[in-house]
Symmetry: C2
Subunit: 224 residues, 2 copies
DNA sequence: TCGTATATGATAGCATTACTATCATAAATT
DNA sequence: AATTTATGATAGTAATGCTATCATATACGA
């Protein structure tokens, strides 16, 4: 059995999960963006890789920005899915939030539940490129089209967990968004700009991102 | 008297602060990037605005990315300058860090100490575009050329303040970089993606960014 | 089974971008 | 007075981000 996520229809022109070509676009675009970087990634290059044409890819996605939106939305849906999976049966609010932090910060491995997606490469893309989905002149339009709903939904879920731990805390959404973005930023820094972080890029990632996040989140809640 | 910052020479080909044309490039590029966004900003458009030519601008900056580097480096130098100015005579570590947080999060107004720079517009640029200086395939090379030294230096300064408050804290640099980036992110969200933050975009910015940061930073230090 | 809709491929074209190069001229320096 | 230096004027080029048109293959429904 293969699961798929129902993503906002406005992310694409034709649903890539439904066709062979669509799945090839997703599969190969992850590889290409991961290796070239989003700036140097073009539909022309992607078309060559999958032995198709630029025009065909444009029938699936309005442009490469929408494709990036699609990929990041998929990532956040996947992360939310994992959080639900592992925290669903935890009742105690603090333990639940703690487990959530663990999942957010854990190293991402390929998940066989979902074919066509290399989650490890996709995480690298989200780390390096995600902010480019909203740091544009069209943010507000894109937001009206609900393109950020994957990220917003996850943020809201974490904000609710935070409020379970500390009802009345005034910055639940801010803390949730900070938490998600900080995670990826610190991982980026540890890989590329080590002087901006205390985390190392080694497999053990010591001192641990997990501990940093936990102290920050629970610290903020206790300071309140 | 007009102050100028000595920025890393590799940020430019010819120092724009030394010539009339150079100063026009800086002055007008801030306006243009602020209004068009970095993606739609081009040297051609800038040349038209200042009645010069593309070729002339290329004699000052290798490309528009380097110009963005220059502007953000200027901004971080300016912020560090202000922090030094206002915290220089505070001895008590906690008060010092608290004042630092206030300066980082305060609304940025035009500073008459520096001609040619509209700090208010520049802050909007830093908020929306700064991450594009390092989210590229050339991060590591740019880092070797010390292009990030303005940000790194400020980070290190704040990390040291943090360590004065809590010696032995393991995440001083991570907390410092998180603090600076979170500030701008939350301001961006309050202006464009309000569901991701608790801050409002109103002039009073209530509840206050300042309080959020303080609880987060001191909370993290107390949790340790 | 025939007719038609749909998906893809093939090819072309076009405005804009991000440069690079060359030459002329004006201003500053020696 | 000679010459270096800064700027402007102009041209050109490969790549990018599309859009358009037409042919063909396949699927689907009557």
């Amino acid at each position: 059995m293969t699961l798929t996520f129902k993503l906002n229809e406005r992310l694409y022109l034709r649903d890539p999960q439904h066709t062979e070509l669509g799945r090839k676009i997703i599969l190969k675009s992850i590889d290409l963006i991961d290796s070239l970087g989003f700036e140097h990634f073009t539909f022309r290059k992607l078309a060559d890789e999958i032995d198709s044409t630029e025009a065909s890819i444009y029938r699936y996605f309005e442009n490469k920005h929408r494709l990036l939106h699609y990929l990041t939305a998929w990532y956040w849906s996947w992360l939310e899915f994992r959080i639900d999976l592992f925290t669903g049966n935890i009742r105690e609010p603090k333990s639940k939030l703690r487990e959530c932090l663990r999942i957010v910060s854990e190293e991402k491995k390929v998940d066989p539940t979902f074919e066509f997606i290399n989650e490890e490469a996709l995480h690298r893309i989200v780390i390096s490129e995600m902010e480019k989905t909203y740091l544009t002149k069209w943010v507000e339009d894109d937001n009206k089209a609900a393109l950020f709903i994957g990220f917003e939904s996850l943020c809201q879920k974490i904000a609710n967990m935070i409020l379970q731990v500390r009802p009345g805390y005034a910055f639940a959404r801010s803390l949730a968004s900070t938490l998600l973005l900080t995670t990826n930023q610190q991982l980026f820094f540890s890989a590329h700009l080590p002087s901006l972080t205390d985390l190392s890029d080694s497999p053990q990632r010591h001192p641990s991102l997990d501990v940093f996040l936990e102290q920050m989140v629970f610290g903020a809640l206790n300071a309140h």
